[in-house]
Amino acid sequence: MEKLNFTKEVDKIVESLGTTPDKVIPILHAVQKEFNYLPEPALKRITEITEISTGQISGVSTFYSQFRHEKVGKHIIQVCIGTACHIKGAESVYKSFRQKLEIPPGKDTDNDGLFTLVKVSCLGCCTIAPVVQIDDLTFGKVGSEKVSEVLEEFIALKASKERSKHKKTKLSKITGEIKIGLGSCCVANGSGKVNNALKSAFNDLGIMAKIKPVGCVGMCHRTPLLEISSDDQTSILYEKVQAGDVKKILLNHFQPDSFYQLFKNKTYKFIEQLFLKDEPGSKSKSPINPRDQHINNFLGKQVHIATEHCGKIDPLDFKEYCTKGGFEGLKTVLDQKSPLKIIETIDKSRIRGRGGAGFPTSKKLQLAYKAEGKEKYIICNGDEGDPGAFMDRMILESYPFRVIEGMCILAYAIGASKGFFYIRSEYPLAVERISLALEICKKNGLLGDLIQGSDFSLNIKIVEGAGAFVCGEETALLASLEGKRGNPTYRPPYPVIKGLYDSPTLVNNCETMATIPWIIRNGDKAFTLLGTAESKGTKVFSLAGKVARGGLIEVPMGITIKEIVEDIGGGCENDGQFKAIQIGGPSGGCIPANLKNIKIDFEELSKIGAMMGSGGLLVMNQDDCMVEIARYFLSFTCNQSCGKCTFCRIGTRMMLDILEDLCAGNGKLSDLEKLEDLAEKTKIGSLCGLGKTAPNPVLTTLKYFREEYEAHIEGKCPAKFCKDLITYSINDQCIGCTICSQNCPDKAIEFTPYRKHKIDIDKCTRCGICKKVCPNFAVEVE
């Protein structure tokens, strides 16, 4: 009976998606969505009715980490273990969830089958780390002590969602505009709730205003942000707005239509003030001046090219994009009818690929232009897998038209007529916006056949990844597009000569694509005025970690680390001490604070052993252990290695073993030599960029923080981070408030009201919750 059901559903899915081998990933996604995992009978059925072989389906479905072969709970909790989340305690968060949900050891699902707990490599909401996603809801700043709260909130939200399904807001007259950031981060930090609160407040207060969703504002550290433009054209910005603040803010700006409402609102204001007066903890929201010092510093050194009009533009408002110069670049090149001229402009602009390695974009274009092939492809690489990076997500979510325009221009330049967006499936909002934007472009004659009356045709499809970092490597990406395991292949032949289905294929990162229209519109000269001798233009970074003002920033190449961290980022949060930055994620390196005057460009970074990478930039302070961070990145690359070549498959595993030993205090001095040797060999001997750069975090930390490695060998962790090398204790500051005891997940602190508490070292798992919750700073770490 069950098999019959599988057959029916699978047949339906296959019918709508197609039967060719390249459809395997979309089909698997759809099947999983239907059954919540991949049941074997369903997989068998797929092989029966498609050209997908059994070998292909088992190989592919086990390669990508998003595919599950076992039934999961009703809701899936994804704990982000991206770098920013990691250094803010994601492991403890994960453990807390396990304990709260009483998930039995060795399993991922609780006994009631309600929740399945998984780790996810990065959700790309790094500024509000630690992040947890439950089903489609993202929660930011989820400390391990907040786990119960989040679960309760999730359940409440689910319930309210069910209730509010049929409620609708009616607006008759627009008296002003409210801009609200609806990037993934903003939503996770509460802007979705603020948005809902706005809508219901409109109803309650009888106010009519236009809510304008805008893409990433960049100032993630202050989200949710509300910008209110009243009838009189003044704009006021509110930061860190919570749902509860909405009504009051609205009343400051808008007058409802009816007298009755006016009266009701006055009363509301009056009563609320009465309530708030006696509460010392409640701060009333006051607007911030958009030009206040902090914002000035944050925005002052930035130059927005790929992120032009950031925070001002509705991602999906086609008209608005056009009025702000959108698609002018495309129209120009279609008018000029000279692909070579485009390539020349791009060549003169000297832009280099933003995906990490910094290969000159024009060189690729020239090769792709010259390459012969019946069909040529263009691919936008949005498979941003670096933990701690979210530039691609933000760009795709916030500027979908710009990326599409860039893609069209490049497609025209090389003569490609088919295009693909390859986007991480962890970025559902990006996928949604791009697909809507593609629809809109098609409707407006900017995509499809014979665009704008020219002889140029371009059709673009979206393909979602399925959880494999290595697919960001272009040859692996192509393999994945063809429906294969994401194994990279040796280059040459380069994809521009022999790529997708052996045809010439241009693969570019979405930031590169987003920069192209600007260059065409403003000319190559304008672009070369920015940056350094060898690295021109700007670079988008996701600034996160222990920094006061995290966010998405776009800065000219050649800016110093100091300027980014101290001026834009405002230094370390909570008066911490700036120790190092990690740039470029698992392919990059750790740069110590004393090198902060280094100018950031491709050459300078590789000179000191790091790498631009795609642009993750994480600030670390005195509490971050460098050996542990190397271990963290190696565990990531080891897990993400495709497993094809010897050095990456085994070398990373061996390095990880050594680093794990070091962090556990089981290291030997000879291990450092072994580690260095393995790192060097893996760098030389690996097939693709993943393996070749995987040793960078190890090599740079060994180079700049060797004394920390040596300390670990002696059994000490100077940052007091490595759990096996520290102990927690409670000092005489303890007032016996019992908070620590109540919060300890390991029951390692006995409940002794009004008396000094004591930690049972044998039970303590050094999760650090007690230290976090203690109001009197009585918990010490040694």
Partner: protein, 530 residues
């Protein structure tokens, strides 16, 4: 067909542009080691053993994956190339879960092919069993009685119940030969015309003389006593080993071509030097001597005895070799036997240095200690019976019982011990095996699904040649493929099908193409090719 000019190892050549660097080198008779590459299939770029040095670009590139291009300048064997090759092999070895040769064979100083002998017994071929070990063990009968049997201590089966009674088995095989009209003697090589003196007819001397004679040399065996045997026929062993049996086996070693010179006292230095003049080489096996005496004879000494060069048994006097207790007193007869044999082979090499690789020590992968939950994997071949031999009167240990005992053997030696490419390259680059990964992460498994085709994931190097072999025949219906990712990648047949079904009629081709013995036949072990 267009041709291009390239340089390989400083030699300019002109080759077809269709070739890759590996093929271009091969055309120059340079065989670049490669594990994951076979000419008949497209490259995978997995093992990274075939790396060569690209001079203009100053970097290492995998020769199997790079097409020749005009102006290329390649070095196939510089230091960087050797280092990276060695590293890649060592990484592969670090996750290689298996014994090249069985621990019994490894532990025994004489390294006889015990597993092969046991398999012969198992199939009732008792004469073949004898043939399998005679050449290496030399004294299967004598040692069958008096050996303290390190092989049995090393047997993997000890981890389950008790080791195989190896000594009794080779004793039985030897007893069976004893009364044979034409006892088996290994084939001798063609005469070399070299004269060699062996002094002392104890276990070392007899083994040395026997081996030298088989190697085609003219041997003269000197012994001060009138009867050969030395410690073998000492009182110590008389209770367990009857003199007649010992003599019979000793006689079998005194091949007709050996000159016997018994009852000659040979202690004087003058005599030895005189001998050296008359002979191409001398092997001294006269048992323990005072260091003072050895010094008097002009030999360098150690604390324990005469000093020999490491790697050979040559003394400080060129052309004079030593074996047995004269080097260091030892009570393990089989060790003396092994030394006599090894010294003899050193002499052959000394006399014919061109053949030196013959004696090169092969790399041996060693399985880590088997975990209790893994031991059952061996039952694809062996029975779970307990050892019964202790209860049996040794003299009455009959063939039936021997066969039963042989069935207990795990046959844990590798099926591809001679043609394994990994072992071959590991030997070539003197690679070493680190064992931390094996201990921490690898699970020992033999997957067979009750069929006669086996797959050992621990030996798979993920080259994908089997998959390519099948796809060449367009025969991949049950879908052999890699699953998982990274370190967890494993070859798999989906939907609970067996490897036999997946490989189908091409199973033998796949097994043959497999660079290691990851794929193998249930009951086929490579035989010694000598």
């Amino acid at each position: 067909m267009n041709k291009v000019n390239i340089i390989i190892d400083k030699i300019k050549i002109r080759v077809s542009e269709d070739l890759n660097l590996w093929q271009a080198a091969k055309a120059q008779n340079i065989l670049i080691p490669a594990l994951c590459y076979m000419e008949e299939f497209p490259h995978t770029t997995s093992c990274m053993v075939c790396m060569v040095w690209d001079n203009p670009q100053q970097k290492l590139i995998p020769s199997c994956s790079v097409k020749v291009e005009e102006g290329m300048d390649i070095e196939t064997n510089n230091q960087k190339v050797q280092d990276i090759r060695k590293s890649s092999i060592e990484l592969l070895l670090a996750e290689h879960l298996g014994d090249c040769i069985a621990p019994c064979q490894q532990i025994c100083p004489a390294h006889p092919h015990i597993p092969q002998m046991i398999r012969n017994i198992r199939s009732g071929q008792i004469e073949d069993a004898f043939k399998s070990i005679k050449k290496e063990l030399i004294f299967p009968l004598v040692l069958g009685y008096i050996c303290s049997a390190p092989c049995e201590t090393g047997c993997r089966r000890n981890q389950l119940d008790s080791g195989i009674s190896i000594c009794r088995l080779h004793r039985l095989a030897a007893l069976n030969q004893l009364d044979c009209s034409q006892p088996f003697i290994p084939e001798s090589k063609t005469a070399t015309g070299k004269n060699i003196a062996v002094i002392g007819a104890g276990p070392s001397g007899l083994a040395g003389a026997f081996t030298l004679s088989l190697d085609g040399h003219k041997v003269t065996l000197f012994e001060q006593n009138t009867t050969p045997g030395g410690s073998i026929i000492s009182k110590k062993y008389q209770e367990v080993l009857s003199e007649t049996k010992a003599h019979k086996e000793i006689q079998s070693l005194l091949l007709p071509a050996i000159n016997l010179n018994f009852g000659t006292k040979m202690g004087k230095i003058e005599n030895i030097i005189k001998l050296k003049k008359n002979y191409d080489a001398v092997l001294i096996t006269i048992g323990k001597q005072e260091t003072a005496t050895l010094k008097e004879w002009n030999f360098d000494t150690t604390k324990e005895g005469i000093q020999i060069k490491s790697g050979s048994f040559e003394t400080s006097v060129s052309g004079i070799f030593a074996a047995g207790s004269i080097i260091k007193e030892n009570n393990l007869i089989v060790k003396s036997v092994a030394q006599g044999k090894e010294a003899a082979r050193s002499i052959t090499e000394f006399l014919n240095p061109q053949n030196s690789q013959l004696n090169k020590v092969r790399f041996n992968s060693r399985m880590r200690k088997i975990k209790p939950e893994e031991i059952g994997e061996y039952f694809y071949w062996s029975t779970n019976n307990q050892n019964q031999t202790e209860k049996i009167n040794p003299e009455l240990f009959n063939l039936d019982e021997a066969v039963k005992e042989a069935y207990r053997c795990f046959s844990c030696d590798c099926k591809k011990v001679y043609s394994c490419k990994l072992r071959e390259t590991a030997t070539e680059f003197s690679a070493a095996q680190t064992r931390t990964l094996l201990k921490k992460h690898k699970i020992f498994k033999i997957i067979h699904g009750e069929t006669d085709i086996l797959f050992e994931p621990g030996k798979c190097i993920k080259c994908g040649i089997c998959i390519k072999t099948l796809s060449k025949f367009k025969m991949n219906l049950p879908g052999l493929s890699f699953i998982n990712r990274g370190f967890e990648v494993i070859l798999n047949v989906p939907f609970s099908k067996t490897f036999k079904e997946a490989l189908g009629v091409h199973s033998q081709k796949c097994i043959q193409n497999c660079p290691t013995s990851a794929l193998s036949n249930r009951n086929r072990w490579e035989k010694m090719n000598e």
